[in-house]
Subunit: 362 residues, 2 copies
């Protein structure tokens, strides 16, 4: 059942996540085929084969599906129709079900509620009327988010008591939405886990994340949370992947609330893929998130997610990356650049990872 080395891993999406997946696949002796809408995708540089075509191009997707031995994706906004075409020819992991649940914030929250996993209070919003009622129920401040296609703070708006609700709804394009209660968290953490085709699960250590302008800025491991909260986060993620019969890497973002015996965790969101907050695993773990994703979907045993060092990962966003000379010279720090030719504000251009001994203070 395990794919032999020399088999081809098909990856939908050619950004930096696809690039790092392709390199991990190559390390294991796999060939790769990247399918991407843009013709200058970062992943193309390190892939065996490339297809430039849209996700609506059925003929191109069929040809791609016939060339590969298993498919996966680097981002969750893949149209279900493309998944269906691929599934006629080969396996795709994570499953269409996993993708559908996590593509839609409402579906995701309802799934979590049905598993008795805690989230912020939420209500669906399909109209101005829903929004008024939602604010009456949930209170302010709250966040209005589109159900689909949001990332890095896109497609969401904060609602205060003096916010004009009609304007807020307009700001997110009047798309089907979800209203979430704003949570007063003490910190944001994420937990990256991986489950393979035979149900083996491995967990990376919880990560403490900070954001700047709603884009991930730093990830620190170990997170400054009590051990019992780390254990609790792991138990929640294990429940999620088992209930979903999930295959591949999953990233679960949590809000950590309260302190001491009052501390608790709410799930913020789930990403059905390798995740920016797991990039430190490349440098600090025996097997990184990218390789473990490839192992999982190829039917291989998982590699060790053990961490040998403490880390501070910092994203290089937009013009941060212009300073590569400086970053390249930092002590005990790795530099990863994604090969993007054009710098745009808010664009993830690379990251640096500072490594420290495990007994070091962060």
């Amino acid at each position: 059942m395990a794919l032999a080395p020399g088999s081809t891993i098909g990856i939908l999406g050619g950004g930096q996540l696809g690039r790092m997946l392709a390199m991990a696949a190559a390390r294991l002796g796999f060939q790769t085929h990247i399918y991407c809408e843009q013709n200058t995708a970062p992943a193309f540089d390190v892939a065996t084969r490339q297809t430039v075509a849209g996700f609506g191009d059925v003929a191109a997707i069929e040809k791609f599906a016939q060339d590969i031995d298993v498919a996966t994706f680097e981002f969750e906004n893949i149209p279900a129709s493309a998944i269906d075409v691929i599934a006629r020819h080969t396996n795709i992991y994570p499953s269409k079900y996993s993708l559908e649940v996590t593509q839609d914030r409402l579906y995701e929250k309802r799934s979590l509620s049905s598993m008795e996993v805690g989230t912020a209070d939420y209500l669906p919003v399909d109209s101005l009327d829903d929004l008024h009622k939602g604010i009456d129920t949930i209170g302010c401040p709250a966040i209005l988010k589109t159900r689909r296609f949001g990332y890095d703070g896109k497609g969401q708006i904060r609602i205060e008591s003096d916010t004009r609700l009609e304007k807020a709804l307009g700001a997110i394009g009047k798309a089907p939405a979800i209203l979430e209660k704003l949570v007063a968290f003490s910190c944001e953490i994420s937990l990256i886990a991986v489950r393979n085709l035979t149900g083996q699960v491995a967990f990376y250590d919880p990560v403490e994340n900070t954001h700047a302008e709603q884009i991930l800025k730093t990830s620190v491991v170990p997170a400054n949370i009590p051990n019992r909260m780390a254990t609790q986060a792991q138990a929640i993620v294990e429940k999620i992947v088992e209930k979903m019969d999930y295959v591949g890497v999953i990233a679960v973002e949590f809000f950590h609330l309260g302190q001491g015996s009052d501390a608790r965790l709410l799930v913020n969101e789930i990403a059905p893929r390798v995740h920016n907050s797991g990039h430190w695993s490349i440098d600090a773990c025996i097997t990184d998130q990218f390789e473990n994703h490839i192992r999982a979907i190829a039917g291989w045993p998982l590699g060790s997610a053990n961490r040998h060092s403490n880390v501070v990962m910092t994203n290089l966003i937009g013009h941060d990356a212009d300073n590569w000379r400086h970053h390249a010279g930092l002590g005990d720090t790795t530099l990863h650049l994604y090969g993007k030719s054009e710098v745009k504000p808010g664009r993830k251009m690379g990251h640096i990872t500072k490594l420290l001994p495990k007994n070091a203070n962060l």
Copy 2:
């Protein structure tokens, strides 16, 4: 002077070393162009651009040289004529001088002697008469080696007191040769170092190597040698790279002789490139030998060669690699496969690296 990300690194040779160099270059945001005589080269899978052509094809080499921003090589048996063509268009590191010295065992030994670096006793052999005289001077057992094109024990033969010398000379094709005294070493070690364009030098920890049928089988770090011998090895390598004004990764193989206060080191040979006995650095160091080679030739500051774990690297040779299922499931062990479709006896197909905490016994 430092090459900006997005520049292209040209690599002569498309084997596993070229493959790992290309992935390291990609991590830093460089594009790569692999030049290789075979059309199924392992490095092609992870390179931005590829040229399939011979090293005697001047037009192809010129085109390649015009497409890249700096050139390097993954093996030392590149014809000097190809280097000359490239040098007319762009920089190539290590230098032609470094390559010439290390391409020829006699030239290499004489260079080391002129630096007052100890080697086994040696004499040039260009005729049967030279060989007779050589054996009279050096004694048996000895090793007769071709001056050029030898690797993994190819092009060499052991000479005992009852060996027919004419037959021995025939066995190495009557090529220009060197006779070396066989050294009764206690262990073989290697030291990988890197020197960049501004003269910054970094050293990896010494490696203890074992061979099977003259092919590297295992590399263990730390090597079981006294600290003062490690310091001595480092001083010898520093002298070599400074005297040669060397740029890039260099691997120096040593014989470690005697014990206690009688211990001493002789240089066995030098490889002007990334080296099999440095593969463990991928998993156990902050910056591996491949990335540091790219940094060195690109005019970048070197990355940290600090080691965070103890390691045992084992080569997967020939049909060893058929057992990938087993290797993939070993605890705290990484698996690297080189994407070679055809298994041949003695062919390096991949390697595994077992990681242990730094205080662990090996």
